[in-house]
């Protein structure tokens, strides 16, 4: 039997805009908060993995936290950075390389849509020069096709966004804490149709960190350990429809979300129907709708009905993005995946206050997706 690994400390630097702190400083804030939550000091940590997309190397956090000589490995997996860091810490603890490990993600992005450099992604310059290399375009193109194939209307996009802001309004740490009406979302400026302004998250800043150890030692540090039943990432297959794709193969393949999700459920030995609280990547409300089905929580085409009935609300059967998700918290790429894990831990510990999912959920799920076709999933249990 493989040793189980538990989360014993969680720490967040709230997402949004913090002009006076660098991304790295927000990462250090998150690590300190997670260490305090676990009741330990930085010198007790034996291994660390972390990263940011645009705010520097995670191992530079040692300059802020303490130069203890530990292996601190930089992770650069885009949106899957946090998930990859977490999976790596779990593997390191299981292997016996360290007793206590830290996973950390942080970021600080300028305002406005991301502008990627084609050569960083193995693409030719013309793809960026002619205005085709935008993440927002991909989300719109995949959403447009998805609505068409599965008989969904743009109403579903509005309902998902409205629900995210409704949840964000209940979260004192969220960046956007104002509910929006159906009309405010439906009539907001077109960004990339069918997606409009209030259907997109914004690039932002923030930090998120976890402290982990072997599950059998966890009660030394906390009364509320959260077991990592699965933490893994997957990359795309030939034929899947991904960000930054100048063309798509004739024969379609499942998205990396689908393969990551299936592998995680198999590893954890549980079914989607057993999950009590769900965080899925919502860079935009179209992606959230697609990810509901790609992660196995509903059938393709069922989403609009579930949203209409409030099934994805905190009191519903599938409570999704209970902290407001990327829509209400913004997107610091390196930190978002671990924010999701922190929200699930908070829910499983019963510490989520006004946004607490009723019925004391025992199992939670997190999912991220990003360029150039990567996905990371965790399944957590209390």
């Amino acid at each position: 039997m493989i040793d189980e690994v538990a989360i014993i400390g969680i720490g967040l630097h709230p997402f949004g805009r913090t002009d006076h702190l660098s991304g790295l400083e927000q990462g250090a804030h998150a690590v300190r908060a997670a260490l305090q939550d676990a009741g330990i000091n930085w010198d007790a940590v034996g291994v660390a993995y972390g990263g940011s997309a645009a705010a520097g190397n995670a191992d530079a956090l040692s300059n802020l936290l303490g130069l203890t000589g530990i292996p601190f490995i930089n992770v650069a997996n885009g949106c899957a950075t946090g998930g990859s860091a977490l999976a790596s810490v779990v593997a390191a603890i299981r292997s016996g390389a360290a007793e206590i490990g830290v996973a950390v993600g942080f970021d600080k992005h300028p305002r406005g849509a991301f502008n990627a450099r084609p050569s960083d992604w193995g693409l030719e310059d013309w793809y960026g020069q002619t205005g085709l290399m935008l993440t927002t375009q991909f989300f719109a193109l995949k959403t447009q096709r998805y609505l068409h194939e599965h008989g969904l209307s743009e109403r579903a996009l509005v309902l998902a966004a409205q629900r995210s802001f409704r949840h964000g309004a209940l979260n004192p740490q969220a960046w956007r804490r104002t509910e929006l009406s159906f009309a405010e979302i439906a009539e907001s400026a077109p960004v990339n149709l069918p997606l409009r302004k209030y259907m997109f998250c914004n690039p932002a800043e923030g930090g998120a960190a976890l402290v982990l150890c072997r599950a059998k030692d966890a009660h030394k540090y906390t009364r509320t350990p959260v077991l990592v039943k699965a933490a893994l990432m997957r990359t795309r297959h030939h034929g899947s429809f991904e960000v930054f794709a100048p063309s798509l193969a004739a024969q379609a393949a499942p998205a990396p979300t689908v393969t990551a999700s299936k592998a995680a459920f198999e590893q954890a030995g549980v079914a989607p129907s057993e999950i009590g609280v769900i965080q899925i990547q919502d860079t935009d409300s179209g992606s959230e709708i697609i990810h509901m089905a790609e992660n196995g929580f509903c059938e393709h085409g069922e989403q609009e009905r579930l949203l209409e009935r409030g099934e994805t609300d905190i009191g519903g059967r599938l409570p999704i993005n209970t902290d407001g998700g990327c829509m209400a918290n913004g997107e610091p790429i390196g930190a978002s995946g671990l924010r999701q894990v922190i929200e699930v831990c908070t829910q499983l510990r019963g510490q989520a206050g006004a946004r607490q999912v009723p019925g004391a959920p025992k199992l939670g799920y997190t999912h991220v997706y990003g360029a150039p076709g990567v996905s990371a999933v965790t399944i957590l249990q209390t």
Binding site: G112, A113, N115, R117, P118, E124, D125, W126, G128, Q129, T130, G131, L132, M133, L134, Q137, A140, L141, K142, Q144, R145, H148, A189, P190, V191, N192, L193, P194, L195, H238, G239, A245, P246, S247, L248, A249, A250, Q251
Partner: protein
Amino acid sequence: MTIEPGATPVAAHLLNLQGARPSLTGSRCTSCGEVYFPAARGCTRCGSTALDACDLGGAGRLWSWTVQGFCPKPPYDSGESEHDFTPYGVGYVELASGLKVESRLTVADPARLRIGMPMALTLQAYRRPGAGAPVFTFAFEPVDTAGDTELPQ
């Protein structure tokens, strides 16, 4: 669309301009037959590195679409700013081979775009006049409005 004399393609290897109408140039894997645009050096389906150039044609059907509603940051080099930006259509067009190619569209009016409509390849001068050397790229236009394409000399 008329392309002004002296204009150059943003990337010459993408296009075949020898025929009456432009067509796209890609590559085909000699082992498994998979086609690529732009031309690839390795086949991500079977792992072969033996690929030949191939003409992908210029006719297809609109597979998905959006309208780019804000001015992209660099490396977009149309010379526009957020103050004088004109939204443009973007879509995937499914070619005869089944390959779907991402492309600018000549139409940015949502009322004139629908999935499944026939599309034809044309050329588009996407850089604002006066913003540097005139450059054109490929674009797809709805077939019902498609006119003759005048190739640059």
